[in-house]
Amino acid sequence: MEPLIRIRGLSKQFGQGCERCLDATGPEHDTNLCRYCGSVMACNDVSFDLYRNEALGIVGESGSGKSTLVRLLHFEWEASGGTVELHRSAGLDNLTDLFEANSDYSRNLLGLTHFQKRQIRNALMGIVYQNPHLGLRMQVSSGGNIAERLLGAGWRNIARMRERSAELLEKTEIPVARMDEPPCNFSGGMQQRVQIAKALSNKPLILFLDEVTTGLDLSVQARVLDLIRNLRNEFKLSMLVVSHDLGVINLLCQRTMVMKAGRVVEAGLTDQILQDPQHRYTQLLVASQL
């Protein structure tokens, strides 16, 4: 099977940069800050494949570039370098010039215009942030939050949008009677579930989960994780799961990448990484897990 999305050499640098940036940063230096010019190499030469109906975990300490990676792939930030290519089977028939005639993969998505990137994002991607304030409009009704993505995709029928919102809220265990309440009335766990409903509204192929359970209490965490696992099976989602919690990764993901100081230091099957960590940092991470 061919990967749904191919990522090669993805990098993001904040600041001017100099010739010595690459040598001065990375896991062996334990920093992503270049001591010569002060640039931050937030993400450096990250390459991986994401397959259909697969959950790929990304673990690492804070500042290791996990969230940067997600923001680059979600087109929120401009990457400094690298390629992101999409498999033809993703469908996107309305973007005709995306695929060359004889190739299975698209042009580099990072080189597209903002407009095209947004079209791809609306058609294929969903994202759930650690902080619901980033993913939701707190003053707009929950149903409206979900409808926003549908409106962006050209839906113009209120009754049908409300039907779809109700359906998704039901799936994410929010009482449909509270559909017209703004998320600021809800508890943290509920807000997170509304966010998941919003992310799923356009039937995405790829779902980004950025520390979704961090900050929730344990019983709520378990329910949200359960929900995500069920939804993955139901919608056949490819997921990129960012977390610093190995428990979450272990529960959701078949494959895992370990990041440190902006680079991938180890990648492989989740079981393998947890049972037999190779890199010094991964060993530390696994050993620290209670």
Partner: protein
């Protein structure tokens, strides 16, 4: 009128036209007029797109119609016939002052008859009588940005326009329907021009919005304070934002008629008698009302 014919008349007016108080014909200097005309041409070429321009100081305060005044001044010629209305009324303060000003700097003929005028400058109404290809309607605009309601940042609204990213405007309407059962925007109703840009049609009532669609007349919008010009060229599709199951509708005057001319097919203003509290209705378009009144009474 052909363009070259128009340019000829314009240069004639500038060389021989009367000068009022030392100002050139049409008050503004040539450079200013040229810039505004260039902006108008660009606006016509990209229907609904807000073209920035260098708004000049006028002898009236910004926010009192300087955008419309500058557009009118930049294209007026001595043989034009001008009509100026304020909320449909030919006789209200704003309209009268602007008319006096135009007359003093360009010496053009003034009329209250929509059909007779070649240029009509208006604040917040479109005349009831259908206008033709030979006329130009200039609308004064206080807030040119239709998306300002949902996004305070100008950088961001420009990005939204550039990428046709209008889901937040639609979300605003969705929320309105969810909360109140219908869209509660009574004037400044947002429209899509030529299938592309969402545009603020200036604070005209809903009643006037359908008149924008496939209008025979060139419609020019000027916002002096906000320094924007935009346009709807003749025969351009203009659609109010609406949902499949919540259609746009205009004000309902069923069972009401103008107390002066008896019209039942016009936009009516409600007038309350201060003494006895009685309510009556009058045409908002006074020129049209006068015409009907005179026909009945002579």
């Amino acid at each position: 009128m052909q363009l070259n014919e128009w340019l000829e008349k314009d240069s004639q007016a500038r060389s021989t036209g009367e000068k009022a108080g030392g100002y050139p014909f049409g008050f503004m200097d040539d450079g200013a007029k040229k810039e505004i005309r260039r902006s108008i041409l660009k606006a016509v070429a990209i229907p609904g797109y807000q073209v920035p321009y260098g708004s000049r100081e006028m002898p009236i305060a910004r926010g009192w119609g300087t955008g419309g005044v500058q557009i009118t001044l930049s294209m007026i010629k001595p043989d034009d016939i001008l009509k100026v209305i304020d909320q449909g009324c030919d006789g209200s303060v704003n309209a009268v002052n602007i008319k006096k000003f135009f007359a003093s700097v360009s010496d053009v003929a003034i009329t209250t008859d929509t059909l007779e005028a070649t240029i009509i400058q208006t604040r917040h109404r479109i005349p009831e009588e259908p206008m033709t290809e030979d006329q130009i309607l200039v609308l004064q605009v206080p807030y040119p940005e239709a998306l300002r309601e949902v996004e305070p940042s100008e950088t961001e609204t420009r990005r939204m326009h550039a990428e046709a990213d209008y889901s937040r405007m639609w979300l605003y309407l969705y929320e309105d329907i969810v909360n109140y059962g219908e869209i509660t925007i009574s004037y400044r109703y947002p429209v899509t021009v030529n299938g592309r840009y969402i545009m603020d049609p200036s604070p005209i009532p809903r009643w006037d919005v359908p008149k924008l669609h496939m209008a025979e007349t060139l419609l020019l919008f000027g916002a002096g304070r906000e320094k924007r010009i935009y346009a709807i060229p003749p025969y351009t599709a203009v659609e109010p934002l609406e949902f499949e199951d919540h259609k746009f509708r205009v004000e309902d005057f069923t069972g009401k008629a103008c107390s002066r001319c008896g019209a039942t097919d016009t936009f009516l203003d409600e007038v309350i008698d201060n003494m006895d509290g009685g309510r009556s209705h009058f045409c908002s378009d006074t020129g049209y009302c006068d015409k009907r009144y005179d026909t009945w009474n002579h």
